[in-house]
């Protein structure tokens, strides 16, 4: 994968110096449908939302310019901004590392050269395909309800489980577990990464008498850091954007007591329940900035812990 990206990058640079030829023009022509979609459905609305974030737009009346008032309110006078940020950060902080660790663990098990690997790989990947869907969130709600499957299983060993999703102490953690369960896509990427680690390194280490733990710590993990880095960045962004599970499981309320009120859910409520489109747009832009800062920080830190094989 990295090879393909590098190769195409070189081609881009080589072509970039030339003028627009009929060949590149026809390239753009072929891109037109996508470009129209991108400009009309993505870039356009993004710009409009930037404008709206400086207005009091409420869907029904024309927007009035209010300057930075929305941003000032976010920074100084919105307790729900802070509480929803806290929920989202808790989620990112726990869901991302746990999911990556789990994905790596499964990938290493699958990398042992077992028979029927493609079948297992597909099976383990399945939850990720379904993961963001409404159906899975509904399933999750049933599993963790007061009389759901989880508590029925616990009852067999004599434990009376709480009603997980309707208790503010546990509700967020059911969502973290749901996120971990969708470990498929980082797992596939880890698996590809593990395959690229040269066998002879392990053989040499084995001859030197290195224990499995040492082999993992000294060979596997360092050589895997580019893949870890890639997965961490992608999963962090995904976690910040998480919306569907919380929306379905709390039926849009973020409850109980705002314990699953993700930042994105709060943003949605402001926009579509309370009709404060202007304010919601400002909230969205604050999230963009936060994700950008996080990503920038990851890239800056990468030079200290990511080893590229160069």
């Amino acid at each position: 994968m990295t090879v393909a990206v590098q190769a195409s990058g070189r081609v881009e640079r080589a072509r970039g110096r030339r003028r627009i030829t009929s060949r590149t023009l026809s390239g753009y022509m072929f891109l037109t449908p996508w470009l129209i979609g991108f400009i009309g459905l993505t870039a356009g609305p993004i710009l409009v939302s930037l404008y709206l974030s400086f207005t009091d737009f409420d869907l029904l009346q024309d927007p009035n310019w209010v300057g930075a008032a929305n941003y000032v309110r976010i920074a100084t006078a919105d307790p729900k901004f802070l509480s929803s940020m806290k929920v989202t950060f808790l989620f990112v902080l726990f869901a991302v590392p746990l999911k990556l660790a789990f994905a790596l663990g499964v990938a290493m098990l699958l990398n042992k050269g077992i028979a029927g690997l493609p079948v297992y790989r597909a099976l383990f990947y399945l939850p990720s395909l379904l993961g963001a869907s409404v159906a899975i969130a509904v399933l999750w709600r049933q599993l963790f309800a007061g009389n759901g499957l989880i508590n029925q299983a616990l009852a067999l060993v004599g434990i009376q489980g709480p009603s997980w999703i309707s208790n503010p102490n546990y509700a967020l953690w059911t969502l973290v577990v749901l996120s971990i369960w969708q470990f498929g896509s980082p797992m596939i990427i880890f698996l590809a990464g593990l395959r690229q680690i040269p066998r002879d390194l392990y053989e040499a280490a084995a001859i030197d008498g290195a224990k499995p733990w040492h082999r993992f710590w000294r060979i596997t993990l360092p050589l895997l850091t580019p893949v870890v880095f890639f997965n961490a960045v992608i999963q962090t962004i995904e976690a910040f954007k998480a919306f569907t599970p919380a929306f379905i499981i709390s039926e849009g309320t973020g409850g109980p007591i705002d314990s699953t009120l993700f930042y994105t859910l709060y943003l949605y409520q402001e926009a579509f329940s309370n009709f404060r489109m202007g304010y919601a747009s400002a909230l969205a832009w604050v999230l963009v900035v936060i994700i950008a800062l996080f990503t920038a920080f990851s890239f800056l830190s990468a030079r200290y812990w990511v080893h590229y094989d160069e």
Partner: protein
């Protein structure tokens, strides 16, 4: 991907298939008609079935008219309506709620019916109150689709099996609470009442019984901090006695009939709207009945009032306004339509229609009709439409009740928080 389309012939086949798919999605009869109406409402499947049936009847009787109906659940309905209105693409017929009519009418999104009365819209026999509830600033923007009120719906069979008496219309809040506790004693894991501390219509009733209100005509809070403390305190007391469901059981209730304490088999009685008896009955096997909100005791003012369960409004931009008004008139006055609709949207405001529909009703529909007749002389006047932000405050009330029930705030702190945050929501508008 690469093998999906390998040559031109396959490409053409794909295209033809896609074209066929698109064509099958169109409703073909639509093409032949001259007047098309778009109709949008919220509600259950039951309501959708009845509404579609009435639309078919209307189409059959008016050749050249076609109606495209669209329906969503309550929480999804309002964002969709607001976005369509913002995009100047609002449906012709809009099912409107008393809570939102002022907002939409003042912003010029709705058509005034006055010019069509009484030439097309013939609703004189509604009586003044049932007409005026659709007026904003003197003009009529909504036509009453049915009267209802709030109520406590209860599982009459379950109560009987437990050997307890059914709750009565003149029971006080305290009597209800004691009854609820007795139910809980008889059957572990089951309670008499739901915890209604987070239910807005019940608080509304409670404040009115004290001679106050949820909101004033000026759109501010109509009650004091002390009232809020008493309210949340009343429910906290019942929770402590184990007379109502504990916090993590009540939190399963997401304000939908499907997740009510009644449907989940956790409580015998829930606070709801009278026209929703039919919807609740569809979810449980045993026979339901209903009665009024608990009474305020001797000397208390009436807590309840009759209100339009919903109204028909017409978009100000409708190009087929006249036909739309005709259809509205059909819904609220025609006997055939009335028989299909029953009291699912509330009890018809037209006396003539009520007289025709009444005898055709069965069990639960009859109860709903009789209930409205029974309470008519026991209710107070309709309060002004709630201010902007009222929906947000209703959510706040539920959250504060959870804060207290999960013991994250005392009654006094919770009430204070409710009062302060509600005021700041109203300030913000």
């Amino acid at each position: 991907m690469a093998t999906l389309i390998t040559n031109r012939r396959q490409m053409l086949k794909m295209g033809a298939a896609l074209g066929g798919l698109a064509a099958s999605g169109l409703s073909l009869p639509a093409l032949a008609q001259d007047t098309r109406l778009r109709m949008f409402w919220w509600g259950s499947k039951e309501r959708a079935d009845r509404t579609n049936k009435v639309n078919k009847l209307y189409e059959a009787a008016h050749s050249g008219v076609g109606i495209n109906g669209e329906t969503l659940g309550w929480p999804d309905y309002w964002p969709r309506l607001a976005t369509q209105t913002a995009g100047r693409n609002a449906p012709d017929l809009i099912q409107m709620d008393y809570r939102y009519i002022v907002e939409y009418a003042r912003r010029g999104a709705l058509l005034a019916f006055d010019d069509y009365m009484p030439s097309i819209l013939k609703i004189d026999d509604f009586g003044k109150d049932a007409i005026d509830c659709g007026r904003v600033d003197g003009k009529l923007y909504g036509v009453n689709l049915g009267n209802n009120s709030t109520a406590w719906v209860y599982d009459a069979e379950a109560v009987k099996q437990l050997g307890l008496e059914e709750p009565q219309w003149d029971w006080s809040w305290t009597q209800w609470g004691e009854w609820s506790g007795r139910v809980a004693q008889k059957k572990p894991g089951y309670w008499g009442m739901q915890d209604a501390g987070g239910v807005e219509p019940s608080l509304d009733c409670w404040t009115r019984q004290r001679g106050k209100s949820l909101y004033t005509a000026e759109g501010r809070l109509g009650f004091d901090l002390k009232d809020a403390e008493d309210w949340f305190g009343f429910w906290q007391e019942l929770r402590k006695k184990g007379a109502v469901p504990p916090a993590d059981v009540q939190a399963l209730d997401k304000n939908a009939p499907e997740s009510s304490m009644l449907a989940l088999g956790k409580a015998a009685a829930i606070s709801t709207n009278s026209n929703q008896l039919v919807a609740h009955q569809a979810l449980v096997k045993s026979r339901l009945n209903m009665t009024m909100q608990p009474s305020g005791g001797p000397g208390a003012k009436p807590g309840q009032y009759l209100k339009p369960s919903m109204l028909w409004s017409i978009s100000a931009r409708s190009k087929v306004a006249e036909e739309a008004v005709r259809l509205v008139n059909y819904y609220v006055t025609d006997p055939e339509a009335g028989k299909v609709l029953g009291v699912e949207r509330g009890v018809p405001a037209s006396k003539a229609l009520r007289d025709v529909v009444g005898p055709t009703l069965d069990g639960q529909n009859k109860i709903a009709l009789d209930y409205i007749a029974f309470i008519t002389d026991k209710v107070g006047p309709l309060p002004p439409s709630a201010p902007k932000g009222a929906g947000e405050i209703a959510f706040l009330q539920k959250r504060v009740n959870e804060l207290i029930s999960f013991e994250q705030a005392s009654v006094a702190d919770g009430a204070k928080q409710f009062f302060d945050e509600a005021n700041s929501i109203l300030d913000r508008g």
